[in-house]
Structure formats: structure tokens, C-alpha cells
């Protein structure tokens, strides 16, 4: 994909199935650095995990987007460790960077924000002013309101309220997600997985530990008082 310097100042998120031609990217690298761009690659392709690490190390903000088809959990784990603990300077890798930076001890974090899929932050509007909760809903024509004027009071919309309370469905009984220590940073995103104990749970638990470490470092920095010269 060719990028242009004219796009400077415009926030751009690129969602690509795979990385593509590396040489072409290198040629455009200086332009990428000028742009407010974040490159997302699919979790489905094995080589993408390494490519995201390369992009990050080159200073390009990037991230993985999760495909229903496949997630390479061991490679995702390596990428998470690089994102969280990598000592060499590198750009943020999502959703890890978001979770680490936004982590709070006693409130949930929804990393759907990274993909513009959290209705508390982002709504999706059709060209004729209908309101959808997600990009997919917009695509398939599933709207919560057909009236754009309702957007100011969207908190009163019953479908919107119902969606925000969907998390409660996990708490009707003891389940893998409701009993997971890392629930607060995942919120059941991978509930369809059958073997969570060897896939999402260890990764998100490790990620939460990293987030906690970062939070503590940040808090300690705030407390540091320096003498004026």
C-alpha cells in the first residue's frame, strides 16, 4: 500500500491481512514516521507476529487484530512480552499498549477501544444517519436507532443500555471467563475458545502483571520529588 505525505495530521488506522512487500515499506518508512498511522495485522497469519515486532522496532505504531479463524497464542505471547518488557525503544503494539497504559486496579478496561468497537467511546453512523454499535453491525445494517438526533441521549436507548450490560450474562453462573483473574482486562473477548487455560488466560494474566508493574512505576514516578537547583 502506498502512503502519502499529504495524509499528515489525519489519524489513520490500516487493517491489513498480512504485512506485504517489506522493501516497499522500507522505501516509505520516512513518510510513515510523519503520519499519525497505526498498522494492524491479522492474528491469523503466523509471520504477522514477527512483522509487528519489526514494525514496532522501526517506530511504527501497530497492533494485532483478532481473527475468528485463528490466533497463534504462543507467538502472541512473545509479542506481548516484547511490547511490555522489550528494553530496546519501540513503538506501541496494540492492544497490549492500550491495556498497559490504561490499567487501573479496580475498574474494567475494554480494549475494543483500540478497534473503535467500544460503544461507550465510539458509535458507528451510516451515511443516512443511522446508529450502530459496531463496524460489523453497521455493515450488516443492524442499527440501534434510525435517528441521528438520538445520539445526544444514547444512554437512554434501550438497545444501547442492554449492550452495555451484556457483560452480566457471564455472571449468571460460574464460567471460565467470570472466574478468570484477568477478566478485568479482557471482559470475555475470547469466550468462544474451548481451552482457555492454555490460550487466553495465561496470556492475559501475564499481561495484567505487566500492566500492574507499569502502573506501579508510573505511581512511583508521580511521588518522586526533585529539589530545585
Amino acid at each position: 500500500m502506498r502512503v502519502s505525505e499529504k495524509w499528515e495530521g489525519i489519524p489513520i488506522h490500516i487493517f491489513a491481512h498480512r504485512f506485504g512487500n517489506f522493501m516497499q515499506f522500507i522505501e516509505q518508512r520516512t513518510i510513515y514516521h510523519k503520519l499519525s498511522v497505526r498498522v494492524f495485522l491479522s492474528s491469523e497469519i503466523e509471520s504477522n507476529y514477527k512483522d509487528l515486532q519489526i514494525l514496532s522496532s522501526l517506530g511504527i505504531e501497530c497492533g494485532v487484530y483478532f481473527s475468528d479463524k485463528a490466533i497463534q497464542w504462543d507467538k502472541l505471547g512473545d509479542l506481548m512480552y516484547y511490547a511490555a518488557y522489550g528494553k530496546v525503544q519501540h513503538a506501541g503494539i496494540e492492544p497490549f499498549d492500550f491495556l498497559i497504559k490504561k490499567f487501573e486496579y479496580n475498574s474494567p478496561i475494554d480494549f475494543s477501544n483500540v478497534y473503535f468497537e467500544n460503544p461507550q467511546q465510539y458509535l458507528h453512523i451510516s451515511d443516512d444517519g443511522k446508529i450502530a454499535l459496531s463496524a460489523i453491525d453497521l455493515h450488516i445494517g443492524k442499527f440501534i436507532s434510525e435517528d441521528l438526533n438520538e445520539i445526544d441521549n444514547i444512554e437512554q436507548n434501550e438497545l444501547y443500555k442492554k449492550h452495555l450490560n451484556n457483560w452480566q450474562n457471564y455472571f449468571m453462573n460460574l464460567g471460565d471467563c467470570s472466574c478468570c483473574p484477568a477478566w478485568r482486562i479482557c471482559l470475555g473477548k475470547f469466550h468462544k475458545l474451548e481451552d482457555k487455560k492454555t490460550t487466553c488466560q495465561p496470556l492475559f494474566n501475564d499481561l495484567m502483571e505487566a500492566a500492574e508493574l507499569f502502573y506501579e512505576k508510573k505511581s512511583n514516578l508521580k511521588q518522586k520529588e526533585l529539589c530545585q537547583p
Binding site: 479496580n106 443500555k161 455472571f171 449468571m172 453462573n173 478485568r184
Partner: protein
């Protein structure tokens, strides 16, 4: 400051596996006439003791079964009879929330209630309605209640009752409860069975200790994640504040500041006394609150504390955080009086020695 466990109804819409109140008693509801009398008596007491505040905990049964008009009437009585003292009455409520409706909110706000206590059970068929204990419907209604509270900026905290069915998965239960309310606020209490254990949910003190004991190191390591989880938080706080934050069951000081008022106006020491059917102080129709709060039989609770310190609990390292446990838990239909420590006192000791001290490295009162 006096706390009144106020049970205007024994009726309940749930059929919890560990509760036999509805079966044991023919559930009654307090008449409006008696409700009015209660507030007249509260007012008389507070006019005389205007340096005190009364915490009135609306309890049940299920207090929302009374309906919103009952609370509106209560508020009318409060405004009518407690005009000078209503600022000294703090209302609280313990409800299962399954009947919560928006219409309750306004009247609760007027009563000064902004937070409700509740309870929750993730294991199926322990809490729920009907003979089959329909927990699915119960939980759905519970969350509807929670959502109404949330929309109206009401807070909530909850109790988890540890039953036999929970014993195999303490950490699952703990994470579940923590995740349910990330901002914190729950308490894990052992189930108390007053009659026959028909549903096979009773646990031994040892089982309770091992249940919370498995959770304790996880809580301790991640305290910042798990705010306000009891009994752990209270124990830690007591070490930091030297016994200042004990609840009624462990304080050894409940003698003159707790009272139960039931639907027929019957009074006793507290909810547990009423459950056992002991330590009755007569009827609110016949006695003033001052008379009830100074009833000479209350002295037995203080005597018990002194007695235990010199006898059963003499030299116990954990006295300051236990005081022999709840006097009402010390009651046994087979033995006379309350002059003995409770089985749950040993629970505290066992927990401290088996889990708390080895895990924290803190040695208690040596």
C-alpha cells in the same frame, strides 16, 4: 450508637437452600399501625438521647416485598413523628434486589438510602424462587436490580454465603465475586443452619477456614486488585488500627447497642437472637426503646465478655480480634446460657494460625 435490625416482613420471594425462616415461621408483615408506633418510639428515644444516632437496617424476609407505598407511608410517619430527630436516623437496607424497581429509588433517596446491601450466589439452585430454587430467573432479576441501582448512582455491596457446594472451588468463587464487583465490597460468611440441613449445604468451621485459607494468599498478594474483601480486610485493619474496626460479632460490645424489631413488634438482641428465639425484650407496643436498650438481661453479654477473658479465652492471642465470637452463636439449644466461646471463635484462631500468620509472617499479640 444503636443499631436496629428492623424486620417489618418475614415474607420472602426467594427460597434459599440455607434459609428456613419462611418454612419455620408463618411469615408476618408489620401493620402500618405498628410501623407508626415504632417511629413514635424511636423519636421518643432520640429526643431523650439526642447525642446518639440510630442505624435502622431494613431487613427481611425481603424488604422490597413491602412495596413502595409501605415505604412512602414509613416516610410519612418519619416526617410526622420524627420531625426533630429524623436527622439522627440513618436508614440502611439488606435486600436480594430481585424486586427492585425505579419507583423505590425516589423514596429511598428521601430516606437517605444511597447504598444497598445484598447477596449473590453463582452456584445454581442455592438461591432462587420456588421449590426448584430457580437461580437462573433469580440472577436475571438480581442484575436488573443492580442496573437500576447503577443508573441511579446507588452503591451496593454484597455478602457471599459459603455452603458445602462452594467448598471445592474457593478460587473460582473468589475471582467470580471480585470480577462481579471490581470496585470492591464483599464479605464471605459461613452458612448458618438453625434447623435441619435439608439441602445438605452446612459446612464445618474447619471447612470454612480452609475455604477462605485458600483464597487468603491470593488476596494478600493482590490486595490492590481486591478491595474491601472480608474477613481479610477487617483482620488487616485491626492489626493496623488495634481492634477499632471490628464488626458486631467480634467486638464483644454489642450488649447495649443492638436491637431486633420484628413484624409483630417483638424485640430481641439482634437478628440471630430472633432466629434462635432467645433473648427477647418484649414488645415495642408495651415498652419504650429506652427500657429495651437498658434491659438488665443485656448485662449478660458484658458478663460473658468478662467471663470468657478469665476462662475459656484466657491467654488467647487473638482475643482482641474475636472476644469469644458472637454471643448468639454461642447459644445451643442443648446447653444453658451464653457463657462459652463459639465454634466460630476456633475458626478465627485456626485461620490465624494455619493461614494468616504463616503466610503474612505477622505474629499476632506475642
Amino acid at each position: 450508637m444503636p443499631t436496629i435490625i428492623f424486620k417489618p416482613t418475614e415474607k420472602c420471594n426467594s427460597n434459599c437452600a440455607y434459609c428456613d425462616v419462611v418454612v419455620r415461621k408463618a411469615p408476618k408483615t408489620m401493620s402500618l399501625e405498628l410501623l407508626e408506633t415504632t417511629f413514635i418510639k424511636i423519636n421518643e428515644y432520640l429526643l431523650e438521647k439526642n447525642d446518639e444516632k440510630i442505624t435502622l437496617i431494613w431487613h427481611g424476609g425481603e424488604p422490597l416485598l413491602l412495596g413502595v407505598d409501605y415505604y412512602k407511608t414509613a416516610l410519612k410517619f418519619i416526617n410526622q413523628h420524627c420531625a426533630e430527630t429524623k436527622h439522627l436516623i440513618e436508614h440502611a437496607m439488606q435486600s436480594n434486589l430481585t424486586l427492585m424497581k425505579q419507583e423505590f429509588i425516589e423514596v429511598f433517596r428521601d430516606m437517605g438510602i444511597h447504598h444497598l446491601g445484598t447477596s449473590f450466589e453463582p452456584i445454581a439452585n442455592i438461591r432462587g424462587s420456588g421449590k426448584e430454587i430457580n437461580s437462573e430467573l433469580y440472577n436475571k432479576k438480581f442484575f436488573e436490580g443492580i442496573n437500576i441501582l447503577k443508573e441511579n448512582n446507588f452503591g451496593w455491596g454484597f455478602i457471599y454465603v459459603v455452603t458445602k457446594k462452594a467448598l471445592a472451588k474457593p478460587l473460582d468463587i473468589f475471582y467470580f465475586l471480585s470480577n462481579l464487583k471490581l470496585s470492591g465490597g464483599f464479605m464471605m460468611n459461613p452458612v448458618l443452619i438453625y434447623g435441619e440441613d435439608e439441602n445438605n449445604v452446612a459446612i464445618t468451621p474447619q471447612e470454612y477456614v480452609d475455604f477462605i485459607g485458600e483464597i487468603f494468599p491470593v488476596w494478600l498478594k493482590n490486595r490492590k486488585h481486591f478491595k474491601d474483601v472480608d474477613p481479610f480486610k477487617t483482620i488487616m485493619k485491626n492489626i493496623e488500627e488495634e481492634g477499632e474496626s471490628l464488626g458486631c460479632v467480634d467486638s464483644g460490645t454489642c450488649a447495649y447497642n443492638h436491637l431486633y424489631i420484628g413484624p409483630s413488634g417483638e424485640t430481641s438482641q439482634c437478628g440471630r437472637a430472633e432466629d434462635w428465639g432467645i433473648v427477647n425484650y418484649g414488645n415495642i407496643n408495651d415498652r419504650s426503646l429506652r427500657e429495651i436498650f437498658t434491659d438488665p438481661r443485656r448485662e449478660e453479654f458484658l458478663t460473658r465478655t468478662k467471663y470468657l477473658l478469665e476462662n475459656d479465652c484466657a491467654g488467647c492471642r487473638f482475643w482482641k480480634i474475636c472476644h469469644g465470637g458472637c454471643p448468639l452463636d454461642a447459644y445451643s439449644p442443648k446447653e444453658e446460657g451464653l457463657m462459652r466461646k463459639t465454634a466460630w471463635c476456633d475458626v478465627r484462631k485456626l485461620f490465624m494460625e494455619k493461614y494468616f500468620e504463616p503466610i503474612t509472617g505477622i505474629k499476632f499479640n506475642i
